[in-house]
C-alpha cells in the first residue's frame, strides 16, 4: 500500500507546468539546492529549539560553529491559520533584531506585522538576517 509501483506516466507529469507533480517535484528540488548553500545546516549538534509563545509554531536555530552571523532561523507553522512569531522572543543574541530577514527558499522577505513575523498556514521559513545575493 505504501510501497507503490512507480507510475511513470505520473512521473512525466512533473514537466507539466502547475501539475501537482511539478509543484511538489520542483518545490523539493529548489529546497535541496538551497540547502546545499547553507553551511549552518551541516550537523555539528548545532540546533537550539526556540520556546515560542505560539504552540502552532515549531522554531529552532541552526547555528554555525564558527560564524555567528551565518545562523539560520527555521520556523514552521503547522496550523491552518497564519501565526505570528515575535522576533523579540528569540532571546538576547542580538540576531534578527533590526535587520530585515530573508527566507532563503523563496528569496523573499516575509511579512512583518508590528515586529511580528507572519508565517502563513502550513508554511515554513529558512531565515537569515544577512544580505542575500540572488541564488
Amino acid at each position: 500500500m505504501h510501497r507503490p509501483k512507480i507510475d511513470w506516466e505520473r512521473a512525466e507529469q512533473r514537466h507539466q507546468r502547475n501539475s501537482v507533480e511539478q509543484r511538489i517535484f520542483d518545490g523539493l528540488k529548489k529546497m535541496i539546492e538551497v540547502r546545499k548553500t547553507i553551511p549552518a545546516f551541516a550537523d555539528f549538534n548545532n540546533r537550539e529549539l526556540i520556546a515560542t509563545a505560539n504552540p502552532h509554531l515549531f522554531a529552532f536555530w541552526r547555528t554555525h560553529p564558527v560564524h555567528a552571523n551565518a545562523a539560520i532561523l527555521v520556523v514552521a507553522n503547522f496550523d491552518a491559520s497564519p501565526r505570528h512569531l515575535n522576533l523579540k522572543e528569540l532571546g538576547n543574541r542580538g540576531m534578527f533584531q533590526y535587520a530585515q530577514v530573508t527566507d532563503l527558499v523563496s528569496g523573499e522577505q516575509p511579512a512583518l506585522f508590528q515586529e511580528q513575523l507572519v508565517i502563513p498556514p502550513y508554511s515554513f521559513y529558512w531565515l537569515t538576517d544577512q544580505q542575500v545575493a540572488a541564488l
Binding site: V20, G27, M31, A51, H56, V105
Partner: protein
Amino acid sequence: MGKWVMTVFNRYQWDLNYNNPAVFIEMIDIILFWANQGADIVRLDAVAFLWKKIGTTSQNEREAHLLLQLMKDCCQVTAPGVLFIAEAIVAPVEIIKYFGEDAVIAKECEIAYNATFMALLWDAVATRNAKLLDLGIRNLPSKLDRATWLNYIRCHDDIGLGFDDRDIHLAGYEPLAHRRFLIDYFTGAYDDSPARGRPFGVNEKTGDARISGTLASLVGLEAALEADDPEAIDRAIQIILLLHGMILSFGGIPLLYYGDEIGTLNEPQLPRRRPQGWRQALDAPPED
C-alpha cells in the same frame, strides 16, 4: 529438521541465532564482501532484534549492542571508511544507544533512523500544533558529535507512534486517548481528517496501531484530488513541502522516500509485503 525456528517478521523470514559464532562470522563476511564492492554505507536492518533471550521482548538487549560493536571493530580494521546505518525503530532513549555509548566516536553505527522526529512530525500534522514535537525534540537524548541522524517523513515501514507517554502527558494530552486520536486521524475515521491511511498491526487490547500509507495520501492529497478541490490540493502540497522543509533543515541526512517527490498515492491492491519463494525468484526471468 524437527526443530524450532524463530520468525519475528514473517514465516518465510528466519531469524539468525548469533549464539553460534559461525553465524556471526558469516555475517561479517557478507558485510566485508559489500565493503569490497565499494559500498560506503551499509544499512543494518532491525538491529534491535539481533539478540534473543527467552522471557524478554528480545529487543535492545545488551548483547545486540556488543554484536554491533564487534561488527564495527571488524570493519574498522579492514574497511575503515564504511559507515553503518542503524535501522532501529525504537524508543528515543534506546535509539541513541545504537551510536554506541561513548563520548565522541560512534562505536556501533554512525547513522540512525530518526524515528522520533518522524513520529513527532506526524503528531504536528494531526494536531496542527507543535506542542509534542517541541517537547519530544527537547527530550531527545543528545547524540555523539561523530554520529548523525537519518531524518525522514516516512519510509519503507508503517508509521509507529513511538513517542514517550510522559511527553504526551506533558503536552497536555492523555496518552491512550491521544494515540487513539492519531490513529483515527490518519485512517480518516476522525471527522475533520482528509487522511487515507490504513491501520496496521492493531493491538486489540490496547487499541494501539501503526499507520500505513503514502505521504500524499496521509496529508489529504488523495481525498483532495477525488473531490477535485483546488484549495485542499494546495493545502496537501503545502504540507508535503513543509514536512520536507523540516527534514532538510533539522541536521543530519534527509531521506526522501521514492514516490513522495511526485505525490504518489496509496496503492491499495498491493499486499504489504509480498512473500517471495526463493525457488520462484531464481527461476523467474529478470524484471525489466
